[in-house]
């Protein structure tokens, strides 16, 4: 099995607020992320696809196709958007790195025409990131 990773970057704003909690609890749990006017990040997304290289093309999947999927599913939805108000898939969820990464996995997984989605890694900053992968996934080289 071969793993292939493509990286993209997008910029978006968000805020953390749970309407079922009091204003005080929201401030205590979410701290400065609870600022009602929101704030933003430059997110870095790394998408890893697993598969066997096609004997004819030598590719796990066509990178151009992956680039188009990422453009359509992620960039158009999230780049320069407010994640709380403009991304339908995140409606009713706190747009934490965990939830955004999970939504991205759910958007991308059914769109993979060649290869299989292996990992989604989303960096909110260089020091904070979330990894999503299939529960019980077989590590590379052990299948």
């Amino acid at each position: 099995m071969v793993l292939l990773t493509r990286k993209i970057e997008f910029a978006a704003s968000h805020l953390y607020h749970n309407p079922n909690l009091s204003a005080e609890e929201n401030r205590r749990i979410f701290g400065k992320c609870n600022n009602p006017h929101g704030h933003g990040h430059n997110y870095t997304l790394e998408v890893t696809v697993e598969g066997e290289p096609d004997p004819v093309t030598g590719m796990v999947l066509d990178l151009k196709e992956l680039k188009e999927i990422l453009e359509r599913e992620v960039m158009q939805r999230m780049d320069h958007r407010h994640l709380n108000y403009e991304v339908a898939e995140l409606a009713g969820q706190i747009p934490t790195c965990e939830n955004i990464a999970r939504v991205i996995w759910q958007l991308l997984e059914p769109k993979m025409t060649q290869g299989r989605l292996h990992r989604v890694r989303l960096y909110e900053s260089p020091d904070l990131f979330v990894d999503c992968y299939r529960n019980g996934a077989v590590p590379a080289g052990k299948s």
Binding site: Y16, N18, N20, L21, I29, F30, G31, Q93, I94, P95, T96, C97, E98, N99, A101, R102, W105, Q106, H118, R119, R121, P126, D127, L128, F129, V130, D131, C132, Y133, R134, N135, G136, A137, P139, K142
Partner: protein, 146 residues
């Protein structure tokens, strides 16, 4: 759907510390041969990068595996306060007996962080320089890896 997915939180921290690689079980000559310039009697230092990976359920009320403020405070108390701007050999009791290689450092940090109450510690990665990094997990490292 959420049960079919495993979600891990990764957080990076930085600390600077000095160390000297020297084993009392080896002769001066062997120490010099095995550890090279890392055996210099006055020690030397690194800017270490510590990467902590935690797994768990994403709480629907907060959208989080663990509150970062809790994780940061725990790592600060358990590791950074005792390691940052310290001599690993002189200031960290575990390294009075063990050579403070980054392999041993990973294992020591894992022991210090595995009691974090709000999520499961999956793995520790320590970068000694931009070119060297080490990883440790208590169970089979490959088994824990995505």
């Amino acid at each position: 759907m959420s049960n079919a997915l495993k979600v891990e939180l990764g957080r990076r921290y930085r600390f600077s510390a000095s160390h000297r690689l020297h084993s009392p079980h080896l002769s001066e000559e062997e120490n010099c041969r095995v550890f090279g310039k890392c055996n210099n009697p006055y020690g030397h230092g690194h800017n270490y990068v510590l990467e902590v990976s935690m797994s768990g359920d994403v709480d629907p009320a907060t959208g989080m595996i663990a509150n970062l403020a809790d994780l940061d405070a725990f790592v600060e108390r358990q590791v950074l306060e005792e390691f940052d701007h310290k001599s690993l050999n002189e200031d960290v009791p575990a390294f009075r007996e063990k050579v403070p290689t980054t392999e041993n450092l990973c294992m020591e940090i894992f022991q210090r962080l595995k009691a974090f109450p709000r999520a499961k510690l999956e793995r520790i990665r320590v970068q000694e320089t931009g070119n060297n990094s080490f990883e440790y997990a208590e169970e089979n490292l490959e088994g824990n890896r995505p």
